[in-house]
Symmetry: C2
């Protein structure tokens, strides 16, 4: 049949694709986000044009590679987020999951956070919005959805949930990035501090010297 043949071919192509992605993975793990197409092709034992045939351009390979890790990370996060525990516990466990991930494989993390940036300056539209890494966007949307599903926010809940989703993800990301660089405290302490922040401890704390007027 024609179809079986095509599936055969497609399977072969998919296998190749996976092999290439794994090679790319190794290079990224070694070289960080600067991994060049040449280096990836060499690691895979082939030459550049094949990479381009499979992924179109560097952005395509980036996207495919990012999707794998992003999916994996999001799965872990969902598990923590959906656990049958109380909210504070779930928040802390989610934060901890994320931080453990970036701690375990910082090079991959750097790669994922790197914005795509079609470097061949041809079609750089004025899309100012797409600065953030896709991973951050996806995590933000995902978290927003969970918040809206599980937390009762009254009217405008969707808007609020989306703002909070992206905001919390950004908080997690920035704090994690800083922490990874300076290591000023243990992971557990960081998690507790962030959860405290989300729990309104900033608003509840008193002013330092005298009244709030000055």
């Amino acid at each position: 049949m024609d179809t079986t043949q095509r599936t055969d071919q497609q399977r072969s192509a998919d296998r190749r694709r996976r092999e290439l992605l794994e090679a790319a993975d190794r290079v990224v793990l070694r070289d960080g986000p600067q991994a060049s197409m040449n280096a990836i092709a060499a690691e895979a034992g082939i030459t550049k044009p094949i990479l381009y045939r499979h992924f179109g351009d560097k952005g395509g390979l980036y996207a495919a590679l990012a999707k794998r890790h992003t999916d994996a990370l999001l799965d872990s996060l969902r598990a923590a987020l959906d656990a049958p525990a109380d909210r504070r516990e779930r928040v802390e466990s989610t934060l901890d999951t994320y931080l453990a991930a970036i701690e375990a494989r910082p090079q991959v993390y750097r790669f994922l956070m790197h914005p795509a940036e079609g470097s061949a300056g041809a079609e750089q539209g004025f899309d100012v919005g797409k600065h953030s890494a896709p991973l951050l966007r996806r995590m933000g949307e995902e978290l927003a959805q969970v918040i809206e599903e599980r937390v009762d926010l009254g009217p405008e809940s969707q808007q609020l949930a989306r703002v909070w989703g992206h905001g919390i993800v950004g908080m997690m990301h920035a704090a994690g990035d800083w922490w990874l660089g300076e290591r000023p405290c243990s992971r557990a302490e960081l998690v507790r501090s962030l959860a405290d922040l989300l729990w309104g401890r900033l608003a509840a704390a008193g002013d330092r010297m005298g009244g709030p007027g000055f």
Copy 2:
């Protein structure tokens, strides 16, 4: 005297430097973070090597350029942060100041958020920490300092303030970036939502369906 002579020269050099920075500014405003050294040199009416003599490498020019905008933005933020108002008001006004700035000049904002990245792959150490834009780091540290000065957090206040500083800045940044791309609501609404988040409304809200067990 020798000194006066040197000051003369230095003044001239400084003026040149400022001129070059202004030209670079114009190009960045037009081309975004992809502004090339060639383009900047052309805009300034000179050629590349002069740029390199003044700023060392692209990172140096980037740093000098970023410092100007960062200083300006931080001044605005400090003003909002130090106002003699109550804490919630100060927080909202600071958020609004930041968002107004990135809304007014998105190209500059993109440039500032772009990590430095010594692209000439020579000396790329394993410093995984320096992924974030210097602007974010500086804002985080600054905010941390203000928090520690003005908010009474008991023991470990320094640690907590630093975590919160970076966390809040990250929240602001991510939410702002998302908002700038999708424009799902007005600036004022965004500010209020974020302040609500910081004020613990997430913790205070009820669960959606029945008990928290499932």
